[in-house]
Assembly symmetry: C2
Homo-oligomer: 365 residues x 2
Amino acid sequence: MSDPMDYASSGVDIDLEGAAVASLIGSLQRSTRKPGTPGAPVDLPGGFGGLIEFGNHLLALATDGVGSKLQIATEVKDWSSVGIDCMAMNVNDLLCVGAEPIAFVDYIAVPKPDPEVHAAVGASLAKACELANVTLAGGETASLPGIVTELDLSGTALGFLDKDSAITGERLQAGDVLIGLPSSGIHSNGFSLVRSIIGRVGLGYTDQCPFDAHFDGRSLPEQPVLSDILLIPTKIYCEPIVKLLQHLKSTQGSVHALHGIAHITGGGLSNLLRLHGHLGWHIDTPMPIPPEFTWLQQAGNVTDLEMHRTFNMGLGMVLAVEREQADAILEFIKTYESNAAIIGAVHDNGHKVTHQNPDVFFEHY
Amino acid sequence: MSDPMDYASSGVDIDLEGAAVASLIGSLQRSTRKPGTPGAPVDLPGGFGGLIEFGNHLLALATDGVGSKLQIATEVKDWSSVGIDCMAMNVNDLLCVGAEPIAFVDYIAVPKPDPEVHAAVGASLAKACELANVTLAGGETASLPGIVTELDLSGTALGFLDKDSAITGERLQAGDVLIGLPSSGIHSNGFSLVRSIIGRVGLGYTDQCPFDAHFDGRSLPEQPVLSDILLIPTKIYCEPIVKLLQHLKSTQGSVHALHGIAHITGGGLSNLLRLHGHLGWHIDTPMPIPPEFTWLQQAGNVTDLEMHRTFNMGLGMVLAVEREQADAILEFIKTYESNAAIIGAVHDNGHKVTHQNPDVFFEHY
């Protein structure tokens, strides 16, 4: 049996990243913009950043890139999904504070301009704008031969919400029901590990997919190659969540029944711990796991714990909702996301994430 | 005499960049956000992007990176200015449409996390937020060992303006007076040429500065090295321009006396041509030229024309204002930018930029 693999062995030093981010935050001062003026920062209990005042509204910004998933796209010269990934990583984060995304800008860095790459990325961004219902409000293409060796793609999304409608996690309470929205696949996190595993087993991205990739009715090429599965675009959750926010406002006058929303990205389920300081989370009915995760786990001999803190394992977004309204909210969400399901509950037995699988357990993120 | 150098010989293929950008724009579709709703795109006559509707306001986004100036900062391990450069490139663009910048997010890509780099960039961004009077509303640090070989830094700025206050160039007319705001030095454009020239003359960035760098009372180390001059941070023009916008609104009820604003970046003076479809621009009294430009021109044997379409040549921003109000506006601006000066005028003799120096002439950007 081969050595077990984990995220650190794939070359990502999470502690070093933490220290770097801490030193960055440490050197940032408070804003010069005074409370009550446009642009003044809004402190949220959960430590979320990105919200600023704007009259009777709050504006939210999110910025993120596609990361090392891009390397697979570049290797197989298929950039049709990366614009969608870039959009998803940003707008899904905005949704978590209850913001409706409205605009996006992209930043493309390449060693030298290549009309083929730009056309493909542009088409992908255009599709992404449609899926997220946002305006592409600008972009920058930088040629940086001394800095990048291949395409880097990042972006920034802008959203807005009513001043009293921020979803902060402060209304969370024991008994809240967790509704899960399925992911489309690996999304855009964990690709250092994906690439290490595939390198170790000696497969190429254009080799035939070594497992049955059919899952949940997704459409696949007749003979899918590995990259077809690895590059499935990250799901954009704007439609179900924006519709739900609007529905709650129009029928209940507020979005208060929604106590917390988490986008499952790097860190997997451990991200849930950010939403509240002492409540805990139990997943008793996990979402079905797409076959690529099962195959990666076997191929890399990865533990269940490591899988769940590196990948989404089929769960793209989690909504924590008031128990009394859970069925109605699930029913509503299913109009847009038919495989949404109740996956667990919030409890008051300690600040931890537990799971149907006892090996999956988090006390830190 | 050595061969004359120009921007293309330094490795930047402007035509290829143009084709790449065109293919990107070509594949972008119209927004799904309908006129009258938050996020709907606003078409400006000058072809500026980035403005969207938001109730009685417009919101503006700008995204840009620092580019190859970063390579000098990384080589000499001095990142104290790059956050300011990144901020300036974005907020100065927002000011051109009459927007007040209020928030900023940064994107940092590194081959691996390095607390020294992150702390220095963080401190520089914090200083930049203060100078621009914006809130740092988030950021992303990506470790991308397969994509970047050294630090890349970009960012996105958000600004706002009243719905009827966009400065679009449509009020421009012959006779408008051009007010110039001085640059602080090379700012963040033309660094491919800067690096080529310095490479060719065989100097290192930590070699003593080969010219007298004193200019206009700027503070310098006692024995400046080349990088001290090359890395002078880009000037942030928020204070003079935001104060001017506020002053015009409060005293005249509108900003209509300001007919056009241009940030002089890559393309130099040729950028002015973007502001109007057929009016022309004559610079009869250029700003004083900082000594680094004179030295670079001699060292690289660069033509006057090439210098003026690659560098700002001492001119950071241009305001085109109503003739009758030019003196009063200049007087006001001088409170914040004492070396602002009248540099020329708008005319109706063809869509071109002309200059006191007859070799500096642009009909295309």
